[in-house]
């Protein structure tokens, strides 16, 4: 068990998301950076879609109420377990009473704290993800608060799997070192996040100069950006005529353009339907990159094709397979 020591931290319990209830108006929710959550789980021998804690505000502190192995993945944050430094993309075992402090990241925005066995909250409509709009799933359908106590599934047995040989813990290479960043034109600045985009149904309704700006300019992530979506600021995108779509299903990654001409990228907590015109869709394989883009930094869009977008998903799966194999190799060598 762990106890949350931070107040109003905006942290939530998330797994890979809730699939199959869109026709009831239920969006998927789920981890913004699914890759980081999956790696955190793999390091602990969990199923890669087990639930973890998504942390967007720092410092974040918890106390371990029992011995327990855990991992931290996602943003590059400085963490301490008592007085010991803990590296990101690393698993280690905590002792009962240890306090874990996850500090402000040097890059990225969201950390994932995973526990051996996975965070144990009830499955609601097939998922442990927090549905903030519907106020269900996760921990009582809300963000975590100071004093909340969370269990891990089968925690007592799991921790024994680790023990002495794992005292120093082990980790893996973060995905940004393993998966090359997409290349923008003109070249993106170092602090810009480049993501690949497939043009969407209303793409051709935009003026040539707006489309030119869409691909070549940096789009600032405004403070009104969260799990629902990123509201971006940049040149005004002008359509050749005003469009009111009949409401239809949308998915995370869809870039809508409201009438003010400033794009919004819909993300994991977005409503699963809408009617604003869609200029493009950030491909599924790059949503983890968006999840780590900081408010105030800029996003760059680079056009891709459907086959490339499918190949990018396979690349992600390949990375996860390599991590899984490495973890299994490491464990078998210690037994």
């Amino acid at each position: 068990m762990i106890e949350i020591l931070s107040s109003s931290a905006l942290a939530t319990v998330q797994d890979h998301g809730r699939e199959g209830y869109l026709r009831y108006g239920v969006g998927t929710a789920g981890a913004m950076d699914r890759l980081a959550l999956a790696v955190g789980n793999l390091l602990l021998g969990n199923p890669d879609d087990a639930a973890g804690i998504e942390i967007p505000m720092f410092p974040f502190r918890i106390r371990f109420l029992a011995d327990m192995a855990f991992a931290i993945t996602g943003a590059d944050c400085a963490a301490r377990l008592g007085e010991r430094q803990v590296l990101p993309w690393w698993m280690i075992e905590a002792k009962q009473g240890d306090v874990l402090t996850i500090g402000v990241p040097t890059s990225g925005t969201r950390c994932y704290l995973t526990l051996a066995g996975g965070v144990d909250v009830p499955l609601v409509l097939g998922s442990r993800s927090t549905q903030l709009r519907g106020q269900f799933g996760g921990y009582n359908g809300r963000q975590l608060q100071k004093g909340d106590v969370l269990k891990a599934i089968g925690a007592s047995g799991r921790a024994a799997l680790y023990g002495a040989p794992y005292a120093a813990g082990f980790g893996t290479v973060p995905p940004e070192h393993s998966l090359p960043a997409p290349q923008a034109l003109p070249s993106a600045d170092a602090d810009q996040t480049t993501v690949r985009v497939l043009p969407a149904a209303e793409y051709e309704y935009y003026r040539p100069e707006s489309l030119e700006a869409f691909w070549s300019e940096g789009w600032k992530v405004t403070p009104q950006s969260d799990r629902y979506g990123y509201r971006l600021a940049g040149p005004t995108l002008n359509a050749t005529h005003a469009v009111e779509k009949r409401s239809h299903g949308i998915v995370p990654g869809v870039i809508q353009v409201p009438h003010n001409g400033q794009p919004i990228i819909q993300l994991r907590d977005a409503q699963p339907s809408g009617g604003y015109p869609k200029i493009g869709t950030v491909i599924e394989a790059d949503l983890w990159r968006l999840a780590q883009a900081r408010i105030g930094t800029k996003i760059r869009f680079v056009q891709t094709t459907y086959p490339e977008a499918v190949a990018a998903l396979e690349e992600l799966a390949g990375y996860l397979t390599r991590v899984r194999n490495l973890v299994e190799l490491f464990r078998s060598s210690r037994h």
Partner: protein, 252 residues
């Protein structure tokens, strides 16, 4: 809940008739609302495909969408078939190998799809129009050139059909709104609108089921529980059910 299903269907036919008579007027009022749109199939990245039915926004088209949804849900590779307002989104666990042929299959299935008749239930919702809970009623008045009373009367006159659920858990998209009160979505979505908000977006109207952001014009408020995740069928209303709004109060 006073109307029988049979009465409801008749009342609905009355409600939709003026809509078709006014379709040309709608097109003028909304400028480019696609009141006679063409059939379109498009991809939403690699995870979903959108089918938009041709023709008017009416119950005949929507009933064919329900048929299409029922059929397509069983196709291999389709995770979920999600009806929208005269459209259908398919989601996939794995990206389809050949989206173009899937699109062709959708067109064929659409051509063959008849109207699905659903005998839904009828629910009456008392509404407080305007005032604190209807902050954009004046915007609808300004846009339409009608008076507050006229907007309210036109809004609560029809028996609305639930076309589809979406937006957030339990939310219903309703068909049958009088096009004379159509008002474009807001330039910038509002954050934190309360549950029970009765609103107009383009030629559509609906009631929010919980607090959240919305780009629609909020004209009133009602109380109703639309969703309970503990139930086997979590949503209170389903496509084919009907809603009647009753004026409880008009605040200025």
């Amino acid at each position: 809940m006073t109307l029988t299903v049979e009465q409801a269907s008749m009342a609905h036919a009355d409600a939709v008739r003026p809509l078709r008579q006014d379709s040309q007027r709608t097109a003028v009022a909304m400028k480019h609302d696609e009141s006679e749109q063409t059939l379109r199939v498009s991809m939403l990245g690699t995870t979903a495909m959108l089918f938009e039915a041709p023709g008017a926004l009416d119950l005949h088209v929507q009933r064919r969408i329900w048929t299409l949804a029922r059929e397509v849900q069983a196709w291999p590779g389709v995770r979920e078939a999600v009806p929208g307002v005269t459209n259908l989104m398919l989601t996939f666990a794995m990206p389809p190998a050949d989206p173009a042929s899937l699109g062709d299959a959708l067109r064929d299935a659409w051509a063959a799809a008849g109207e699905l008749q659903i005998e839904g239930k009828v629910v009456e919702l008392p509404v407080q129009y305007g005032g604190e809970f209807g902050p954009h009623l004046q915007d609808v008045v300004s846009h339409t050139g009608l008076s507050v009373d006229e907007v309210v009367q036109l809004h609560c006159a029809p028996l609305y059909t639930v076309y589809a659920l979406g937006s957030h858990p339990g939310y219903c998209y309703l068909g049958g709104m009088d096009p004379r009160i159509a008002t474009p979505r807001r330039k910038v979505p509002m954050l934190g609108l309360p549950g029970g908000a009765v609103s107009i977006g383009g030629v559509q109207t609906g009631v929010s089921a919980s607090t959240g952001p919305s780009g629609w014009n909020t004209i009133g408020h009602t109380s109703m529980s639309f969703f309970d995740p503990a139930r086997e069928n979590p949503a209170t209303l389903a496509p084919g059910d009907m809603i009647r709004f009753r004026v409880e109060r008009i605040a200025s």
